[in-house]
């Protein structure tokens, strides 16, 4: 039962939380498939590319910038907000570039991710990481949309809901990568 004055979660924010639960289920499905597969024969052990450490630092740092961007928006410091949100999107793209560097590093070490000579250990790494990158890309696109809207809008926009949703999602994608990073590094 609701009472007057009780502040409920904004419906769109709520949708985001349910969607994040859904995304968690997808990665839970993939990582449990990984565990099942690992216990079976023909599993290749290999060292993760070092560049994944840098991508991890990058995405952690981008969480900080998106947090500061939200704070700047709420304080109506629009110049700083625009700078910080641009940096966040750029860090997102940098993260993806570093991940791809990691893939080519594996290829150089003659550990193919896909194709007939690949082992499912590396294929899993490839599929899961690419899927995660797709989610980072989704965040970058969302930032672009909110960013362009801030310029185009004829009326002044004081609602922080859009940027709040993006910031929550961005932290989520960050935490998701941390989970995957720990999973790939130490749970294997």
């Amino acid at each position: 039962m609701q009472h007057e004055g009780q502040v409920r979660l904004h419906p769109q924010k709520f949708v985001l939380w349910v969607a994040m639960g859904s995304i968690v289920m997808m990665f839970a499905g993939l990582t449990s498939a990984y565990i099942v597969k690992k216990s079976q024969a023909n599993w290749l052990e290999f060292a993760l590319p070092t560049v994944f450490w840098f991508s991890t630092i990058t995405i952690l740092f981008s969480s900080l910038t998106v947090h500061l961007a939200l704070k700047a928006f709420k304080a109506r410091e629009m110049k700083q907000y625009r700078l910080l949100i641009t940096v966040t999107a750029a860090l997102g793209l940098l993260f993806m570039a570093l991940q791809i560097m990691g893939f080519s590093n594996l290829e150089l070490r003659n550990i193919p991710l896909f194709g007939p000579k690949s082992n499912s250990a590396t294929s899993f790494l490839g599929v899961i990481t690419i899927l995660h990158m797709a989610h980072v890309l989704g965040g970058v696109i969302a930032i672009l949309i909110v960013f362009l809207r801030a310029y185009n809008s004829k009326v002044k926009n004081y609602s922080s809901v859009g940027i709040e949703i993006i910031s929550t999602y961005w932290h989520f994608v960050d935490i998701l990568w941390i989970y995957l990073f720990i999973f790939f590094n130490w749970l294997r």
């Binding site: 609701q2 969607a19 839970a28 099942v36 007939p116 499912s120 809207r149 009326v155 809901v161």
Partner: protein, 606 residues
């Protein structure tokens, strides 16, 4: 607090405007044909789009079953007209084995996903959630529209797979590898499988968009006074359905992603040590087809309840309304639906008892599977006690609701057989399984859907369906359903395997040739009866008897407080406030009390 207040709290201009879709009657905006009937954002129109698209797929899927039943019932006869409609798939009027498998596969996929998931919960979640919780529309009407169009697109892709040269996918609706992973495995595994997987991916996106919306609307958009325990059971059922979908479809999706990589990028998630005739030994090593089964059935089992729960919810509502009695055990109903939703995630391996599953693990899944009998039995007893000494009105909707209970009991009891891993060694992949799931999930949920259509048709179109045709539809369908599927139990117990093309060449199954012919004949009659229902449906949209009152069934719930033909926004003025639960029938000498009636001083407390 009404939705408007919630939105104003966040006092926002641009974002809140997207959500603030309260188009009150006094500023009805201009609607073109495109925005009203095609790219509509009105949940009621989207519901009708889901329903009619679902009907199209039901006819397609039903027609496919008639075609393959023709093969099973008359394996030695030829039907020249089949060559006219199927071409090379029925050379000389005889359906080819390849076409038979394609028909069986597409029948399964279409009925499970397009008809009983999108057609059932897509229709009624969209239609009933905003109307019964007292909201002007869904949390995100835009996502809702996208949900339908993704479904529509999935349908187009699936439909196109029927027309490709190598035919649609033919490896069974579960799409187990290696048939689904290797293009060289069979003709249907080529382009047909590519289209199948694209179609299913689009369908998963549609389900997720819809499910997110349903959950957010139920939890966030209820009108003032509509606490969770005042919700009609339909809403609870649709809510649990959405939760199941949102948590299980992504896992299916991850299974599909791995499948796509195995098909197209040479990985070995599911493939190992395979030799294909004419191709040679494949390089894939170390994969496991069982892994796919785990991922598939982790969705596949909740999917059964995604199909069944909406039917259960609507049946509860319709039984109570037409028995003029409060639903028996309202909280027990919610509790048992909750239990079903939890257990749905813990029983998937009972589809895999004979895959070489560790028998100890199997015994745990037996226990969890049989536990589902407890909430199911609670629901059945509550439906029966709701009917007990009720002042029953046998409307067509009520007939179908009672039919649902009957089918759910009959099909549920054989579930107790199949849930035992020891019995499953004999029964697995026989007609016993076909009989079980068609009765308990397929036909029962179709009955729930029919009950819902007959009951809410007046709200959808402002007219009634023809009653006489409704009774004809009911009696032929329920008799036919039992005549089709009851004998299959005997065939299954005798060991007759499913998915075979021609049983007449097997000495042990020759005895069933007359029975198979009988089943096929009944199937055709029942299919024709569904066309009668469709005729009734479309005729009544335009020419049915008009509604003269807002509340034709003397019902308590909110949807019957809207105008006969509600506009976008549902209520012309304020959204009504709710003061009581949804089942005040026969209380204190009054036939029914609407949820919008304040609790009187002289009333006994519920």
């Amino acid at each position: 607090m009404s939705n408007e207040v919630v939105l104003d709290l966040h006092g926002s201009t641009s974002i809140a405007h997207d959500v603030h879709h309260g188009h009150d009657a006094h500023h009805e905006h201009h609607e073109t044909f495109i925005s009203k009937y095609v790219f509509s954002m009105d949940h009621k129109m989207i519901a009708k789009q889901f329903l009619i698209t679902g009907m199209f797929w039901a006819v397609m899927g039903g027609l496919m079953s008639v075609l393959f039943r023709l093969q099973l019932g008359y394996p030695d006869s030829t039907f020249p007209w089949l060559e006219d409609i199927l071409g090379k798939w029925a050379k000389g009027g005889h359906i080819s084995a390849e076409a038979y498998y394609a028909l069986v596969t597409t029948h399964g996929t279409v009925l499970v996903f397009f008809v009983l998931t999108a057609g059932l919960s897509g229709t009624f979640a969209n239609f009933l959630i905003p109307l019964q919780v007292g909201a002007r529309d869904m949390a995100s009407p835009m996502m809702n529209m996208l949900s339908f169009w993704f479904f529509f697109l999935a349908g187009i892709v699936m439909l196109s797979s029927i027309f490709v040269e190598t035919g649609p996918f033919s490896g069974g609706w579960t799409a187990y590898p290696p048939l689904s992973a290797l293009g060289s495995a069979s003709p249907g595994s080529k382009t047909g499988m590519d289209l199948w997987i694209v179609s299913m991916a689009l369908f998963v996106v549609s389900s997720l968009l819809g499910g997110l919306n349903y959950i957010a609307t139920v939890l966030n958009m209820r009108t003032k006074g509509m606490s969770m325990t005042r919700l009609p059971l339909t809403i609870w059922a649709l809510f649990f359905t959405a939760v199941l979908g949102v948590l299980s479809f992504p896992v299916l999706f991850s299974g599909f992603i791995l499948l796509i990589f195995d098909r197209n990028f040479g990985t070995s998630f599911y493939l190992s040590d395979i030799f294909v005739n004419g191709v040679g030994a494949l390089p894939n090593e170390g994969g496991s087809a069982i892994l796919y089964q785990h991922l598939f059935w982790f969705l596949g089992h909740p999917e059964v309840y995604i199909i069944l729960l909406p039917a259960m919810g609507m049946v509860s509502e319709i039984l109570s309304t037409n028995a003029r009695k409060p639903i028996f055990g309202y909280m027990a109903m919610i509790g048992s639906m909750f239990a079903i939703a939890i257990l749905a995630f813990l029983v998937w391996a009972h589809h895999m008892f004979v895959t070489g599953l560790n028998p100890f693990l199997g015994s745990i899944f037996v226990l969890l599977t049989l536990l589902i009998a407890v909430p199911s039995a609670i629901k059945v007893f509550n439906w029966l006690t709701t009917l007990w000494r009720g002042n029953i009105r046998f409307t067509p909707a009520m007939m179908f609701a009672i039919g649902f209970v009957s089918l759910f009991i009959s099909g549920g009891l054989t579930g107790i057989w199949l849930g035992n891993s020891a019995l499953d060694i004999h029964l697995h992949d026989t007609y016993f399984v076909i009989a079980h799931f068609h009765i308990v999930m397929g036909v029962a949920s179709m009955f729930g859907m029919f009950a819902g259509i007959y009951h809410w048709f007046p709200k959808m179109y402002g007219r009634y369906l023809n009653n006489t045709l409704g009774y004809v539809h009911f009696w032929i369908t329920i008799t036919g359903a039992y005549l089709i599927f009851w004998p299959m139990h005997y065939e299954g117990l005798a060991g007759m395997p499913r998915r075979y093309y021609d049983y007449s060449i097997w000495e042990s199954f020759k005895q069933f040739s007359d029975l198979n012919r009988f089943i096929s004949t009944v199937a055709m009659i029942v299919f024709a009866t569904q066309l009668l229902f469709l005729a009734n449906f479309f005729y009544s949209i335009f020419k049915g008897r008009k509604l003269t009152t807002k509340n034709p069934w003397d019902s308590t719930t909110l949807e019957w407080t809207t105008p006969i033909k509600p506009g976008h926004g549902n209520w012309p003025g304020e959204i009504p406030e709710v003061y009581r639960w949804a089942y005040d029938y026969g209380k204190d000498g009054r036939d029914f009390i609407s949820q919008t009636t304040p609790v009187g001083a002289d009333e006994s407390v519920h």
